[in-house]
C-alpha cells in the first residue's frame, strides 16, 4: 500500500473509537488552518466568492479528509476508496483546498480556481476535478446520489463508506428528505451525512428564509443516528466522527453529524462582517484576512 495516504487501513478492520489525542487535534487543526489559508488565496484570485463558507466548513473538511476518509491520493478512482460527495457545489473552494491538503490536487493549481479552462470551476463538478465524486450545485441532489452509491457499494461487497456533505439550506429541499427516508429504509449503515449548519442561505438567515429547526429531532425521527456538535471545534468533530465510525456497518442505521459553524470562522474581520451568502472582500483586505487567520491560529497553538 502506498505510504502517502491519509488512512489506508484495511477497511474490514473496524476501528473502535480512539481517544481524541493532542496529536490528532494538532494535526487536524493545522490542516484546517492550511485549508483556510488556501481558501483565502483562491478567493483573492476571484476577488470575491464563497470564502465565508469555506472558512466556516474548514474544520469539517479537515477532519473528514485528514482523519476519516480512506483514499489514495495518487489514485483518486481507487475502487475501495471511501466516497466524499459535495452536494453544495459552491463550497468547492473549500473542497479544492481540502483536496490540495490531501495531495489529490497540487497546491500550485489552486490559483487557477474559477479561471477559464481550469480543472477547478467555481461550482464543483465531477467531470472537471480529480477527487470530486459528483457534480453538486443543484441543491438537494447529493444525498439521493449517496443513497445509490451506498446501495451499489454494499451490494458489490465493498465496505467503503460514503460521506455526504450538505448544508442546512439543503434541508429546504424535499429530495433531501426522500433520501433520508430511503437511507433509513435500506439501512445504509455505510452512509454518513455531515450538515454544515451556518444558519445562512442566499436570501438571509435560515430561520427567516424557511425554518428548518428542530433539525436534530427531524433527523432522529427519520431514524438516523444523530449527533449535533460545534462544527468549529476540532475535538468535538473528531469525537463525533469516531462515534459515527464505531457504529458504521454494512446494514444498520445511517448517521448524521449536524455541525453548527460560523461563516468566516478564523478571520475576525469576516466573522464580524454582516453575514452574506456571497461575501465581498476588498482588494486590500485579503492580506489582513491572512494575517488575522495566522495570528489566531498561532495564538491558539501557543496557548
Amino acid at each position: 500500500m502506498p505510504t502517502d495516504t491519509v488512512q489506508d487501513a484495511a477497511p474490514q478492520e473496524k476501528t473502535l473509537p480512539t481517544a481524541v489525542t493532542p496529536e490528532r487535534l494538532e494535526k487536524i487543526s493545522a490542516a484546517a488552518y492550511r485549508i483556510r489559508h488556501h481558501a483565502l488565496n483562491m478567493g483573492e484570485v476571484q476577488g470575491q466568492g464563497y470564502v465565508g463558507q469555506a472558512l466556516g466548513a474548514a474544520d469539517m473538511l479537515a477532519t473528514v479528509y485528514g482523519d476519516q476518509l480512506n483514499f489514495r491520493a495518487e489514485d483518486p478512482h481507487w475502487d475501495a476508496r471511501d466516497r466524499f460527495l459535495l452536494s453544495t457545489g459552491h463550497y468547492a473552494i473549500g473542497h479544492y483546498a481540502a483536496l490540495a491538503e490531501a495531495g489529490i490536487v497540487p497546491v500550485e493549481e489552486l490559483e487557477t480556481y474559477g479561471s477559464d479552462d481550469s480543472r477547478l470551476p467555481m461550482s464543483g463538478m465531477s467531470t472537471y476535478t480529480p477527487g470530486m465524486e459528483i457534480s453538486g450545485g443543484s441543491l438537494g441532489h447529493g444525498l439521493t446520489i449517496a443513497v445509490g452509491m451506498a446501495l451499489g457499494l454494499r451490494c458489490q461487497g465493498s465496505s467503503a463508506r460514503i460521506f455526504n456533505f450538505l448544508s442546512d439550506g439543503e434541508l429546504d429541499e424535499g429530495s433531501t428528505w426522500e433520501a433520508a427516508m430511503g437511507a433509513h429504509h435500506h439501512q445504509l449503515g455505510n452512509l454518513t451525512a455531515m450538515v454544515d449548519i451556518n444558519a445562512l442561505q442566499a436570501d438571509g438567515k435560515t430561520d427567516t428564509v424557511l425554518r428548518t429547526e428542530p433539525v436534530t429531532e427531524k433527523w432522529e425521527s427519520f431514524g438516523w443516528y444523530t449527533q449535533r456538535v460545534d462544527g468549529n471545534d476540532v475535538g468535538a468533530l473528531l469525537a463525533a466522527f469516531d462515534n459515527a465510525a464505531a457504529q458504521a456497518t454494512a446494514v444498520g442505521r445511517p448517521s448524521v453529524i449536524l455541525c453548527d459553524t460560523k461563516v468566516g470562522r478564523g478571520v475576525p474581520l469576516l466573522e464580524n462582517r454582516e453575514k452574506a451568502h456571497f461575501m465581498r472582500i476588498e482588494e486590500n483586505e485579503w492580506q489582513i484576512c491572512r494575517e488575522q487567520l495566522t495570528a489566531g491560529y498561532e495564538g491558539k497553538a501557543s496557548a
Binding site: 465531477s126 459528483i134 441532489h141 439521493t144 443513497v147 445509490g148 446501495l151 451499489g152 458489490q156 433520501a179
Partner: protein, 343 residues
Amino acid sequence: MSTTTEAPDTAAAAAPPAKPKLKTSAMIASFADPGQKTSNAPFGHALVNAAQENDKIVGLTADLGKYTDMHIFAQAFPERFFQMGMAEQLLFGAAAGLAETGLVPFASTYSVFAARRAYDFLCLDAAEPNLNVNIVGGLPGLTTGYGPSHQATEDMAIFRGMPNLTIVDPCDSIDIEQAVPQLAASEGPTYLRLLRGNVPTVLDEYDYTFELGKAKVLRGGNDVVFISSGLMTMRALQAAKALAAHNVDVAVVHTPTIKPFDAETVLKEINTDRLAVTLENHSVVGGLFETVASAVVTAGVGKRVVPIGLPDQFLDAGALPTLHDRYGLSVDRIVAKVLSELG
C-alpha cells in the same frame, strides 16, 4: 370534454337508446386489439434475460414495480432490486449513484413523473456525467385514460433537450425485447417509452431487428410514406393495409430511436414525390414530427410533412379507444386523414 362528441344522456330523452359508453378501465392494462397476438410483460422478461448475461444490471422503481413490469425482475433477482418508494427524485438520484459504482441501473416509474418531476436529477446526476442510467417510463403519450396527471403527452419534448440522452420509442414486444440488452450495453443514459402488460407482437411479420440508432423501412409503397415510432408504427402498418383497399400504396418507416435520430435513412425516404406523414403517440410539439421537420429543413429539402399526433392541449379522461379516435390516433382516423390529404 367536448359536448358535441359526448352529449349528456339527459339531453337525449327522446332519442333511441345510446350505445353504452366505454369505461376508462377498458384497455387499462393493454392497448392491444381484441384477439391480437401479444406478449406478457416483455420488458420485465427482457430485463431478466439481460441480467442473466450481465451481473451489473440492477433494477429499481418508485412504488410502481407491478405497473411497469419491473416486478418480474424483482422476483427473479430480489437482491439486485431496490424499492425506492414514491420518491422519484430519490429514484433517479440513487440510480445515478448506483451507476457511479459501476452498476447498470434500470429505473422505472411513469413517464410523467420521470420527465416532469425528476428532470433535474436525470439531467445533472445521470446525463451530465454520461452515466449508464436507463430510465423506464410507463404510460408514454396517450396510453391511459386517467387524464393529464398520467398522460405523458410531452415526455419526448421534455427529454429531447437533454444532452447525452438516448430516447427509444418501441412499437411492440419485439422492439422491447431486443432494445433492452442494447440499452444496457450502450454508454450513457437512455429513456425507454415503456409498453407494459400484454404488449402486441407486430414486427415479427416483417424482416426486422431493432438496432439502436437506426430507422428501418418495414414496407415499401409508391404513394405515401409513413414515418412512425412507438405504438403508432403498429397503427401505421394497419392503416397501410386499410389504405391498400383504397388503392393507396403506403410505405412505412419505423424510427424507434428518436435521439440520436437516423436522419439519413428518413431523409432518403422523405425526399421523394410521395405524401410524407409522421405518426407519433406524442404531442405534435417537440416529438417525432419536429425531429423529422428539423432534419428536413437542415438538409435543405423543400418538402411538406403532415403530422399525425396528439394536439397541443391537455387531453380528456376516458376510455383509450374513445380517446385515440378523438385525437386522431386510431386506424380509421389515420386512413381518413391520408385520403383527405390525397384529395
